[in-house]
Symmetry: C2
Subunit: 149 residues, 2 copies
Amino acid sequence: MARATRLPDHPVARAAIIQHMLAGAGLRVTRPRQAIAEVLLLAWDHPDAEAVLARARAIDPSISQATTYRTLAVLADKGYLRTHNFGTGGARYEVAEQHHDHLVDVDTGAVMEFVSAEIEALQQKIADRFGYDIVDHQLVLFGKQRAKG
Amino acid sequence: MARATRLPDHPVARAAIIQHMLAGAGLRVTRPRQAIAEVLLLAWDHPDAEAVLARARAIDPSISQATTYRTLAVLADKGYLRTHNFGTGGARYEVAEQHHDHLVDVDTGAVMEFVSAEIEALQQKIADRFGYDIVDHQLVLFGKQRAKG
DNA sequence: TTAGATGCAAACAATTTGCATCAAA
DNA sequence: TTTGATGCAAATTGTTTGCATCTAA
């Protein structure tokens, strides 16, 4: 049930998408950043900085940890990435497309995505009670797979 | 609008509650742990480990960082405390009483608490779709105070 | 050309651990 | 008394930064 990749197969189209993302974030389009962006766009999971670095080095072995963290930070800051903190370990990243929330399998660590317009509507109702406007939210469900019976 | 303290004023009653919490977690009732538990039970906010340590040292200056982290970890593991990750900085702790979620003021860092039975019901409906039972969840709304009109 | 990006290594921040000593049960 | 708890300091983990050197624009 792996999600389809977010990048087209055609190498020119891929390069164009990556370029758009980096330039859109106000960044120069360098080789390390292209590798990092490609890694994120290809990721079907929610890798942490270490995993992003490892995968990026498969494309270009000279990429440093510092560049990885710096690039992740800028892209997240500019809204191209979302960061999450699922309990222990470092921050985990994913390309920010349509907003969605997460269901984490506490036994396997697998992460599923979902959206619920109903929940989002209720959230704003709650914020209203406090006199607030919501600028962001995070909802993480932790669950166990139900035994087949 | 500070929440009332979770501990009674009477010193004997306070000691009994703290003892109950520590013993209930399978821990020996030591002076450092009593101080840490008292700090958490008295906390009206959501202190991080550093703040817990500082407040505990006001009770007993000899308390170490290691004991603070160790005690927080066990109490959280046993379900007496909840931990949160509101963006940057270390984990933040609070006594686990009735479950509730949080609304964080992105400008001031203030944290408000709320519960919504409606949202919780929808959460289980979503987990059902994946064949999961929810064992825990975390919902954090980030908001800005609405300008007074 | 030149401002911005890089790798490296050192610095930081948050948390965990080994160990000799201490104290609750 | 003996098993678990403590403080200390060192080790880990995750992340950030200074700096001399590159390189995209």
